[in-house]
Symmetry: C2
Subunit: 338 residues, 2 copies
DNA sequence: CTGTTAGCGCTTTCAA
DNA sequence: TTGAAAGCGCTAACAG
């Protein structure tokens, strides 16, 4: 293993000079610069960043802690984080918590032990425990997608409330009066906000909120299918389903197919989150699309700005709008069909 | 920042004793153990792994370098690596190369600088440059999914040749005599092997290899759609398409839909790689499925075994079988239709 | 079973 | 513009 000292000896300089050249920090005459770079190349020198970070107290490593790496929503987010981070000279570690608070806390510990400079966190719940743990240990955090109760952290998310409002309003305008919301877990902010937006749209349209069906489950395909099955057994049966996210929607579609129900003829369907074009054969679902990539990128920018800042400043709460994309699954006006 | 010395002072022991307790290495009386753990808890001590790794020369960190994190094939692989690694006390870093050799080399450098113990590599090409760079710097590697020319590295992959042979044989048995292979890049081993299997099945059936259409593109949806469009303009037009992977298949389906061609009535379609159940509404594609999770898990086991080994031993080349899953997209016998 | 000493490879600090 | 000395926080090696 060649060290910085070996390179220094070969180039006939002090090791600190080698350090300055390879990190572009401090001055170095052109002559010395060339001699050092030549030595580095000849010896195949690979700097040991662990040693550097130990001394400098900065690792130039960020982490993205997300709840489900198999969901395209988060792989797109991963791209957003990665692109911004690498442009600023940071490396990114990706962690997957499976919506499990315990796993999240484990990762937080491991990340702190490995001295990451900052964390982009998609929290598994709405409490701010992980955020506080990180902050107490001097690690910067930005919360993305879901928001937590703390006021003392940067947060970047989408307007779930309004997105849900728009989707629900669309269904109502199409003539639906009995809509079921098949949602994620109640303790996750996005699910809670979508519930609120759903109710508000119904109330604004003068529809009875109490007579609608709302089920809280998980943001998975299995849960979506299960919730859809429950709803299909209700009498009277709703004429439209609102899925809490993309995976729930896929489960819903599966359950409807099993029940030999056509979408939108027999049942209208709308959902949050679009699926990436690369994964869809034929775009079909009416969705409230979130600008995931932009959200993740912006969050990472906030994080990096704070890492570069020399003084403290107010925490930011950035809310992106959703985009309503109307496709076939929501159907046309019910009256038109008659 | 509390250090191991602070904890040692608080517990009234030497720092090496604290080290032994928190790492479960060496002996410690129950009394001392309790005192140390209490001190750790009271002070909220977080060990600095950078310092430990610098001294011990082992970071307990592995990396998975993959070519496309947005492809479910690789997110499933990520799960396989992660599950095995964390069980053995390793942390995993995920890196995405976008099939770009330059990005791959950059990551290899960064990983070496950060002293990862081992790398699970999905190479972007079939040369063994990255493998050699890592090995020369004392980092263990295992190559997964695609194989490289080197004999001096563990490799785990699927039998692409036989999988392609089976898929092609199926199409032939259904009566197709003009089949187009829409493949990935020629310099990637999986694409090359699928090409070989395709040709062998044709030859074994006495069909003219030269009169079939073979196009090499990229493992993306866009490329799949583009290749399909090319094929559709041929005269005579093939009656069946063989997609080189899942993303190519999705592009093919899109192009066929745009051309108002029905699958399988107007065009039979088969492909490599199944899509995870969570992402598919209704399984429809006839595929040669690969046991991705198992492949990734096995590769990680090999890597960890080698890291634990006290002596060198022969490199292994593990080949998993593919499973032919026949669904609607391949259609029924052509004669039956008449 | 517990402790002392030294040093991993780098960068900070201070000096020339 | 370059260098010498010191030390980041931990664990290997050896001692008792």
């Amino acid at each position: 293993m060649t060290t910085i000292h070996d390179v220094a000896r070969r180039a006939g300089v002090a090791s600190i000079t080698v350090s300055r050249v390879i990190n572009n920090s401090g001055y170095a005459s052109e002559d010395i610069r060339q001699r050092v770079l030549a030595a580095v190349k000849e010896m195949g020198y690979v700097p040991n960043r662990l040693a550097g970070s130990l001394r400098s107290k900065r690792s130039k490593v960020l982490a993205l802690v997300m709840t489900d790496i198999t969901n395209p929503f988060f792989t797109v987010a991963a791209r957003g984080v990665e692109d911004v981070a690498s442009r600023a000279g940071y490396t990114v570690i990706f962690c997957n918590t499976d919506e499990d608070k315990q796993k999240e806390q484990n990762y937080i510990q491991v990340l702190m032990q490995n001295q990451v400079d900052g964390v982009v966190l998609v929290p598994s719940g709405s409490d701010s425990e992980s955020v506080e743990t990180l902050q107490q240990n001097g690690v910067q955090v930005v919360v993305v997608d879901r928001h937590v109760s703390s006021q003392k952290v940067d947060q970047v998310r989408c307007d779930s409330l309004n997105g849900a409002y728009e989707l629900t309003k669309l269904l109502i305008s199409l003539g639906h009066t009995h809509i079921a919301l098949l949602n994620g877990p109640q303790n996750v902010s996005t699910a809670a906000d979508r519930f609120t937006g759903f109710n508000r749209a119904l109330a604004d349209a003068g529809l009875d909120t109490a007579s609608q069906s709302v089920i809280f489950g998980a943001f998975t395909r299995a849960s979506g299918a299960e919730m859809a099955r429950q709803v299909l057994e209700m009498t009277p049966r709703p004429s439209a389903l609102f899925a809490g996210n993309n995976f729930i929607a896929l489960g819903v579609l599966r359950a409807l197919e099993d029940a030999r129900l056509r979408v939108p003829e027999d049942m209208a369907v709308v959902t949050f989150d679009d699926l990436p074009e690369s994964l869809v054969i034929s775009p079909f679902l009416t969705v409230a699309a979130q600008p995931v990539y932009e959200m993740a990128a912006r969050a990472t920018e906030l994080l990096i700005e704070r890492l570069a800042a020399t003084q403290v400043y107010d925490f930011q709460d950035i809310v992106f709008p959703t985009t309503l994309i109307v496709r076939k699954s929501s159907g046309v006006k019910i009256e038109t069909l008659k």
